[in-house]
Point group: C2
Chain length 242, copies 2
DNA sequence: GAGTGGTCTAGACCACTGC
DNA sequence: CAGTGGTCTAGACCACTCG
């Protein structure tokens, strides 16, 4: 037989793509329930099992959350269960506490070479830069410098950041309709510069974790570039390998 | 109706446990094929679909590897595809190269408080300590100090380590029958001590990544505790968040 | 009790591998 | 061509949630 399908894609993946598309278009908002498996099966003219397999994959990727007896929901960074999804910092004693976010600065700039390459925008395109402190139990532990494409985050200001309760990605979701899906982190050890040392109340030159993160939304589109400097005297960066 | 099953466990999980048990008992060795889904279904008196779901989970946990048309195989650290499974260090230029492992020392000792707690062995029980260097393109990048329970790794010597080609976990698998399944890593930034600085050819006091890893075999049994010091001038520690 | 996701089955057919 | 994993279906029943 002739191989007719060099790009063969099983039905459930096509269904997945359709659901993805609906998600991306905002047909269902974060936190809301999507239609039942039976309804989706009817809509796409496939069996429940095929829809199920599509949803299985999306649940595994943290795009959807299943709740037996209730329905399937669009994952949201405003859901308490997602708060620690992207923050891998754990206190030495192992007892997790929610950090307090202290916005320091927020200003406009034009994208330089690096920012334009990473965020895939034109050099010189508007960007927004945010600096903030993360405190655990009142103690400063992380300094973040966050680069955002200005077009996507129009109107973001220090006031917006200060008013908001909850996680930054929760704000991005509700205020700007941007859903953070996945991220890559590059971790290095660096020496604290003077300014950072003061903010984190450590000695100048003391070793800090440098965590560079690029965060992506649907379609692997980068929408955030940030560099965090972590003081790892009282905390560690946890990674589970399997 | 009365809730008869507070500890309800679906059939496919029971099957998974049985397959796990067979794996653990060594019924099939790393790299070997396990019986076909149909055979297992017959053996356990369930449908193929149920076996499939059990295997699906185990494949997702990297315990088994499926190969369409060929069969399902026991995952092995001697498989080239698994070489980088636990090493998250990437060169700045992004081009992966296999590191060269240089064993430096290997000696016997008795477990102190920390080692006994982490490896869950009696204080004073025999342990083996290995020090080694990891080189990329001839340059030293990582110093590892590895603590192993003596009982499990009887006969391990510097010569064994030097003779062996391939990954350390591959050696553990073939020589000692120990399969590394998952690991937790605690990452911090520290200053290079004099001895480490010399080995890594960096200045004393310069910042290094400290990567503490506890590695587990079947049944979440810890079988390795190691501390690595990584020079992150030419490499970074990569973590993918989702 | 109605509606949701979760499990289990049986059978058909497809895609890939190797003899 | 036989044997393997991979897909898809249809239907039955279970576990959970909520009104």
């Amino acid at each position: 037989m002739v191989q007719e399908s060099p790009t063969f894609s099983p039905l459930y993946r096509q269904i997945k793509a359709l659901i993805m598309q609906a998600l991306e278009s905002g047909e269902w908002r974060p936190g809301e329930a999507i239609p039942s498996e039976m309804d989706l099966a009817a809509r796409f003219n496939v069996s429940q099992g095929t829809v199920r397999k599509a949803i299985d994959e999306m649940a595994a990727e943290n795009l959807l959350v299943r709740k037996q007896g209730k329905g399937t929901f669009v994952a949201s960074h405003n859901d308490p269960r997602s708060f620690f999804r992207f923050l891998r910092l754990v206190p030495n004693d192992g007892i997790l506490v929610s950090p307090e976010s202290v916005p320091l600065e927020c200003w406009r700039a034009k994208a330089g070479q690096e920012a334009s390459r990473i965020l895939r925008i034109e050099p010189g395109a508007p960007i927004i830069i945010v600096r903030r402190l993360l405190k655990f139990k009142g103690r400063p532990v992380v300094v973040d410098e966050i680069y955002l494409p200005g077009e996507t985050f129009q109107g973001l200001s220090l006031e917006t950041l200060q008013e908001h309760q909850g996680s930054l990605y929760g704000l991005f979701e509700t205020r700007f309709g941007v859903r953070m899906i996945r991220a890559d982190e590059h971790v290095r050890a660096v020496a604290a510069d003077r300014r950072t040392a003061e903010l984190l109340q450590v000695a100048e030159g003391s070793p800090l974790l440098s965590v560079e993160r690029v965060t992506y939304t649907y379609g692997d589109k980068p929408v955030e570039w940030r560099r965090g400097l972590y003081s790892t005297a009282e905390h560690y960066y946890l990674n589970e390998l399997s």
